[in-house]
Each structure stands twice: as C-alpha cells, then as structure tokens.
C-alpha cells in the first residue's frame, strides 16, 4: 500500500505517555497538518516518523515497508526543523547540497540540482552566500530546499513558519501548499496555528493528550467537530448545555427550544454553534431570551455578546446585517437546527 | 551500534582518569612500608599517619589554614569587582576583569616567580601571610568568573522593582542581590578552596623554605624516598575534592556554573 501508515504507535517517557496508540493512514501525495496545543504529542509523533525518537510500541510503515527501527539517515526523508537547523559553517549552496554530498553524488550533478532548487525557491544566485546573511523568509526557503534536494518520499516540517512574522507566514503557507501540490510529495506539518492548518492541509489531525481526537478534511473538522475539544480548538464556538426530557422536548440553558434533537435516548449533550450561525431577533417567538452585555465592532465584523442565564454567547455578523441592539437590551437568540452540532457529554 | 561505541569510549576515558587513583589507593593500604601493587596485606594505618605523625599533621593544618583564608580573600576581591562591573557602565574598569583572569591563565610559574621577586624585593619573603595573599591573587579568577556568571543571571527588573518600593543601593544589595548571588559566592569559594589546597608552585616559591603545605610535604618526601603516607594523602585529597564538588553540584547548578546556558538543558 502506498503511503505512510502508523499502527498503534505509542511513546512512553517513564510513566508519562506522550503518544498513545495512534492509528493513522496518510495516502501518498497528501498534505497532513498535525494540530494541537503544546504538549499534545504532535512533535513527538513527527520525530518518531523521522526516526529521531523510537516508539515504545506499534509500527510505522512507509509504502508497506516496516521502517519502525530503520535509522533516521536511511529513511530518505526531508525534514524542516523549527529552528531551521541550517549549518552555520556552510553556504546556502553547500547547505542544499549536503544530502547529495553525503550520498556521494558527483560534484557537477550536485551543482545542477542546487541551481534547480534555488530557482524553485526564487533565490537563484544565492548559492555562495553564508546562511547568516539571509533574512528570515530566505532562510526558511533554504531549509525547505535542503530538505527536498534528494526528492524524498516524505517531507516533514516541525512548526516551520513559527519564526516568521504574521504577513510573511501567511504568504509562505500559500507558497508551501503550491509547492507541495506541484511536487506531489507526501507532507506532514506540525503546527499549533489552526489557520495555517486550514490553509494548507488535505487532512487535519487534531491531537490532545497524546491521542488523535479527529482526523478529517479542514472543512469537515470545522463543520462537524467530533467532540467539544475539537469544536473549541478549531475556530471559536459557543458551547451550550442541552437537556432532553425523553418526550422529544429539548431545553438549552433551561429554556425550551424547538427543532433541535439530541438523538435517540440521549438525555444530556453539548451543542456547538459557530458565532456566525447565531441569529439575533426580538425577544419572544420561541427564541432563547438573553441580554446584550457588550458589542465589539471590528469594522469588518461585529461581535455581539449575549448573556443567557449566566452563560455568555457570541454572535458574529457582517456590517450589512448589523443587529439593531444596544448594551443592556433584552434580545432573542435563534438556534437554527441545521448548524447546531450535537456533541456527547 | 554507535551507542555501544560511545559506551566503550567513555569506559576507556574513565579508566584513564581513574587508573592512577586506583593504583595509589591500592598502594595506600599496604600493610608494610612498601610500594607494591596489588597491595600486600591490608592496613589503614597510613591514613592514621596523616593525623598522628606531627609533620604530616602540621602540613595538613597549614594547607587547610591557607586554603580557608586565601579563598575568603579571593572572594572578597572578586565580589565588589563583579558587582561594580554589573552595576555600572565603566568600560575602562574591564581592565580589572582582565587582571583578575590573567594570573590563572598565564603559566603558573610566571605568577609564582612574579610574587617571589616581589616578596623578596619588599623584604617579606617567607612570611606565612604572604602565601595567603599570593594564593588569593592566583585564584581570584575562579570566584570572579562564577560571580560574573551569577550576576548576568540576575534579572535587572528585580532591582528596579526593589527601587520602586523604596530601597536604596545598599539595601538592594543586601536584600535582593546578595541572596541571589549567594550560591555563586559559595561555589566560587569552593573552587578557590580546593585549588588552593592542592597548589604547589606558588606556595613553594613564596613560603617553601619556612612552611610546609601538604603538596610541598609530598614533594619533599618524594625526593627523599617513598612512604605510603603520600598515597593516603593523595586519596584524602581526591576524596575531599570529589566531596566538595559533589556538594556544589547538589546545592547549586554545576552545568550552569561551568557555562551551560539553562538548567533545563538535558
């Protein structure tokens, strides 16, 4: 089978389990982003795929071959480190040629490949510069070119864009995605930036506490989060407690709502509703009733904070659909059933 | 494979470092006054000899007194200097930093000979206190380096915070700086103490003819033949150094003192 497969991969440090029984299939040519808060095990998982850490259990297969115990330098992969790890004693060209030199590629072929890669990253003519003289974005590109110089089977990146400023980061995200699509290389990126993951990935893997909480396409993750953690971690959301009385009637925050079902036999659940899906109307008419506590007008969007029975809910609207509310005013909140995601308690 | 290779390498280096001490330890427990290894018989009497024989006991006390006093003097020179350099912008004062580091960096014979000619010219040659001053100057480098390191580790905003609460320079030094720098004072003292205990050439050139420290005593004994007490003193020295440095490591941050950046580097 073509691609990368993780089977029950586990990593324990003493009594601490950093990665717990991870099962994941990455088909050839896909772009995967591993996303999660710090300490969720995403970097450890990436290091195990690279062979820099050894799993304490499970197996890693690449194109059907078990590589769990193959040493890093025999895995033929390319990796970009958070620190970039450009060799300070080598020039730009020598850094990019390093994997080729190590493999005994003839000098002329090395030079040809380096020129090719430099033009790919728009740094032609930079071969003889010392890496210390480059800007952050340029160093970034050199690290990427170096990792790709042997055309590896697997392209791994550990928080690759975290050192760049916001604007450059956004631009590099697009560039990296375009490059990956052009080369068709299986790519795994570790990040804690959900915007980065949404921009680049075919598949987003959300991790917490060493386990995968959900692995799906970005839009699926956003629209159909698997649990409250994923719903809250990806974008912002309103999490509301809901109760069913067994006859089909459902109450949210103690107030009856119509049209929402928690599913058969479920008495308690959490509803996730994105702020842009919250509708504000006049009080009454079966809407939840609350009070406006704050209005944040950001120009492009308007956030309205509503207090319902002591819980705060946020509604986002565009200036065109600006709700006619002021602070302290009672307001009705409509939960449309097709945008509410019911999550198990 | 590489792991095994490095284990073998570490074992060989460890053996190289330990071998002379193992042989000396073996020699030190010989039953009779013979230089034999593996030891013939077993006796700890050569350790008792250090404390019972008046010559060795006097040398031990001379060495201890010298080390205690000279290390204290070295810290007394280094502390205000390191503090001043941290507190003030005075580039020309860095010359004193350099002067503090030079005695230990130059070949020891140079410092020793300089002090010898100085004491001889001023007429104090042979006085026991000249050894204390000589050692303090020779080893001032050690507390100076550890204290400079310690000061750079102090967050300057702590001092600012104390000043906003109404503390003047002296109070800040006493209530904020001193408690934070104390571990570095202790380790600087410990380094100077252990090295002074072991030092030979400076002590020998300054007071060698009037006072016998332990290293001088060992050397003199070595020239007139062999006695197992030399072996037992050697082991006593190694053990003392190991214990003191272990204590420094136990209560301080040894890797950081030796220049590692942060304590959570593993």
């Amino acid at each position: 089978m073509s691609g990368l497969a993780l089977n029950n991969v586990t990593k324990e440090f003493g009594t601490f389990t950093a990665v717990n029984n991870v099962e994941l299939m990455v088909p050839h040519g896909t772009f995967v982003c591993m996303l999660g808060p710090s300490g969720c095990g995403k970097t450890t998982l990436l290091r195990m795929i690279a062979g820099l850490d050894l799993p304490t259990g499970g197996a890693i297969r690449l194109d059907g071959e078990d590589i769990t115990h193959v040493p890093t330098h025999k895995r033929n992969l390319g990796m970009v480190f958070q620190s970039l790890a450009l060799f300070p004693h080598l020039t730009v060209g020598e850094n990019i040629a390093y994997p080729l030199r190590i493999r005994g590629v003839p000098k002329e072929d090395q030079k040809k490949r380096v020129d090719e890669l430099l033009s790919m990253i728009h740094l032609s003519g930079y071969a003889d510069r010392p890496v210390a003289k480059l800007s952050g974005g340029q160093r970034q590109r050199v690290a990427i070119a170096r990792a790709l110089s042997i055309s590896p089977k697997l392209f791994l990146l550990d928080e690759p864009l975290s050192a760049l400023d916001a604007k450059l980061r956004e631009a590099m995200q697009v560039e990296l995605r375009q490059l990956q699509q052009k080369l068709g290389i299986t790519t795994i990126v570790v990040t804690h930036d959900q915007r980065e993951a949404m921009t680049m990935a075919d598949t987003v893997v959300v991790m917490k506490g060493g386990e995968i909480r959900q692995a799906a396409s970005p839009i699926e993750i956003y629209r159909r989060p698997a649990d409250t953690f994923v719903a809250d971690f990806i974008g912002s959301t309103n999490l509301l407690e809901a109760e069913a009385d067994g006859t089909g009637a459902v109450a949210v925050l103690g107030q009856p709502v119509s049209g929402v079902s928690l599913g058969a036999g479920v008495r308690k659940a959490t509803l996730s509703i994105r702020p842009e899906d919250v509708h504000l109307t006049a009080p009454g008419n079966g809407a939840l009733s609350g009070t406006v506590t704050f209005v944040r007008d950001l120009g492009g969007t308007i956030e309205t904070f509503v207090d319902i029975a002591g819980r705060q809910l946020v509604a986002v609207s565009t200036p065109r659909a600006r709700p006619d509310v002021t602070v302290g005013q009672p307001v009705g909140v409509v939960l449309l059933p097709d945008v509410c995601v019911v999550l198990a308690k | 494979m590489t792991g095994a290779l490095s284990k073998v390498y570490f074992f060989l280096i460890g053996l190289f470092l330990a071998a002379p001490m193992i042989v000396v330890a073996g020699v030190s427990v010989n039953a009779k006054q013979t230089l034999a290894f593996p030891p013939k018989g077993f006796s700890l009497s050569w350790y008792g000899e250090i404390f019972l024989n008046p010559e060795w006991r006097n040398a031990l006390f001379a060495s201890l007194t010298l080390a205690i006093l000279s290390a204290a003097l070295a810290v007394a020179i280094a502390l205000p200097l390191a503090w001043f350099l941290w507190r003030r912008i005075a580039p020309w004062a860095n010359i004193f930093q350099l002067l503090g580091i030079a005695p230990f960096t130059l070949p020891p014979v140079i410092t020793a000979l300089g002090l010898l000619t100085f004491w001889a010219t001023t007429g104090f040659y042979g006085q026991p206190w000249t050894a204390v001053v000589s050692h303090a100057i020779f080893f001032v480098t050690l507390p100076l380096v550890t204290l400079s390191l310690g000061f750079t580790a102090i967050d300057r905003s702590l001092v600012e915070a104390a000043a906003t609460m109404g503390a003047d320079d002296k109070t800040i030094f006493r209530t904020v700086v001193l408690p934070l720098i104390l571990p570095y004072i202790v380790s600087g003292y410990a380094f100077a103490f252990v090295l002074s205990l072991n030092e030979y050439i400076v002590a020998y050139m300054t007071v060698g003819f009037t006072m016998e420290t332990l290293p001088i005593k060992i050397f003199n004994a070595l020239r007139y033949g062999y006695t197992p007490t030399m072996a037992s003193v050697t082991i006593l020295f190694v053990a003392t150094a190991a214990i003191i440095f272990s204590l420094v490591a136990r209560f301080g941050d040894l890797p950081k003192l030796l220049g590692a950046m942060s304590s959570d580097d593993t």
Binding site: - | P20, V27, A93, P108, L222, M230
Partner: protein
C-alpha cells in the same frame, strides 16, 4: 535597573579594594619580575639592581634553543592529544542525561584540581616496576617480568595529557552544550550516519571553538613545571622546569625572571599569530 556610569567619586567605592589588591599584588610583582630580569645575580643573596642584558643573552645558545623547541613541541603535542580525545568525549557528554553529566563533571573537576605533585606521584607509581601496571600484565601472562616505564617521553606525555584533559573538556563544555542539537538531527534526516554527522557538522561548526581550545590547552601545557621533572629525563625538561630550577635551586632569580619574561612573550606571540591566522581564514 538602568546601568549607569559612575556619577560621584563614592560610586567608585566598590572598585577600590579589588583594584588596589590586583595592582599591588599582581601588576607590581609582574613589573618587579621584568625589572629583576635585567638585574645582576648576587652569589649567596638574591640580586643587585643593574641594567644588563646578560640574562637574555644566555638564551642565544643551542641548549636553550633545544629546550624552547622541546617545550613548544611538547605543549603542541599535549594540546592536540587532548583536543582529539576531548571533542568527541565532550560532545557525547553534553548529549547525556543531566545526572550522568554531573557525575562526570564532578570527576573531571576533582582530577583538574589535583596538584601536579600528586599527579606526578600517582603516575610514577602507576609506571613503577614494583607497583605499576606491568605487574597486572605479568599476572595476566602478557609480560614475563615487571619493568619500570619511566623516566620516558611517553610517561611525560601521558602525565601531561592526564593533567590537561579535564581542563580541555571544561573549556569545550559551554560551546558544546550550546550547540543546537537540531543541527545533528537535521544532518541525520538528510542522510548522514551519526559518525558522519559528527565529522561533517559538529566539528566544522565548532572550528573556531576548537582552535581557541587548542591555544588554551597549549598555554596550560606550557605551564607544566613538575611532570617533566618527575616522569622524564633531563632532556625532557621544559622552560617552566628550568625557570623553577633556576629560581629555587640555583638561586639565580634574574636569569629565571628573564626566562619567564621570554616565556610570556613567546606565549602571547603564538596566541596572537594563531588569532590573526584565524581572522584571515574567516575573512577569506
């Protein structure tokens, strides 16, 4: 705290004691030594003031050329041996667990603090006929008869490497601890085996540190004053030994001082040369 230049005279207060001590007991003695190197020796006493170059003229002999040459050669050999042994050792040490590192650091400091007298005594015991390692070889049946391995050049070299090795490790330690561990990891992901990564990344990245360490160990080894005496033959005596010998046993302080001044000049000159060469190499 804002660091500021001293405003009032009293701001200089803390500097007073350290500055006085260092000037009176280091700068003045150093100057005295230089002065004495031009003085005339007095039989039975120390010396009488004079201004003569006789003490320096004595260097211009084949004997001193030989001693100087041997001293430099020995120090260079010791420095190279130590650095070759210590670079991989320190690199591996910095990659170990903290607790293990501390144990090794304590051991290294303990050996480093040992007096040359003790190191000399310990190695002369180890190399002796009656208590030396050859006895173990005899017991193991490798040798037929125990023998003394000293005095010899090998013994001097071993003793001096033993003395300088912990120093070398401690000089290298800060730079190696700070070496970004992802550099070797990167090399490994790019296809270099751990040993290849060590030679293609760690060693070249530390080129300047290694050069500086070579100089420091070289100076350290130049200062060895007892080991050549205790473990070697008279032809293995170094300039430091001769200085000690002249000052103490021959009571010729002016000559000893002249040699000491010469040693300082040679040391500083070589250091300056190396630093200059390093600068040029970097600029190119």
């Amino acid at each position: 705290m804002r660091r500021e230049a001293p405003q009032k005279l009293s701001d200089y207060g803390p500097l007073f004691f350290p500055a006085t001590m260092l000037i009176v007991f280091f700068v003045v003695p150093f100057a005295t030594m230089i002065a004495v190197s031009f003085f005339q020796r007095q039989q039975g006493g120390f010396y009488v003031p004079a201004f003569q170059f006789a003490n320096y003229e004595r260097f211009l002999s084949l004997f001193f050329a030989n001693v100087l040459g041997f001293s430099l050669m020995l120090a260079v050999t010791v420095a190279i041996c130590c650095v070759v042994l210590a670079v991989p050792f320190t690199y591996l040490l910095t990659r170990m667990r903290r607790k293990v590192q501390i144990v090794w650091l304590v051991a290294l400091l303990s050996v480093l603090s040992l007096s040359e007298v003790i190191i000399g005594f310990a190695w002369s015991t180890l190399f002796s006929r009656t208590a030396g390692i050859t006895n173990l070889l005899v017991m193991a049946g490798i040798m037929s008869e125990a023998k003394a391995l000293l005095p010899s050049f090998g013994a001097v070299l071993t003793g001096m490497v033993y003395q300088a090795f912990p120093y070398t490790v401690l000089v290298l330690y800060p730079a190696l601890v700070r070496l970004d561990p992802t550099l070797t990891e990167a090399a490994r992901t790019l296809g270099a085996s751990p040993i290849k990564a060590f030679f293609t990344v760690v060693v070249p990245a530390l080129r300047n540190t290694i050069t500086a360490t070579l100089i420091m160990v070289f100076i350290f080894a130049l200062g060895s004053y007892l080991l050549p005496q205790l473990l070697g033959r008279p032809q293995h005596w170094t300039l430091s030994v001769l200085i000690t010998d002249q000052a103490i046993y021959q009571s010729n302080m002016p000559f000893a001082a002249a040699m000491a001044v010469f040693l300082v000049l040679v040391t500083l000159g070589l250091v300056a040369l190396t630093v200059l060469a390093g600068r040029k190499g970097e600029a190119a």
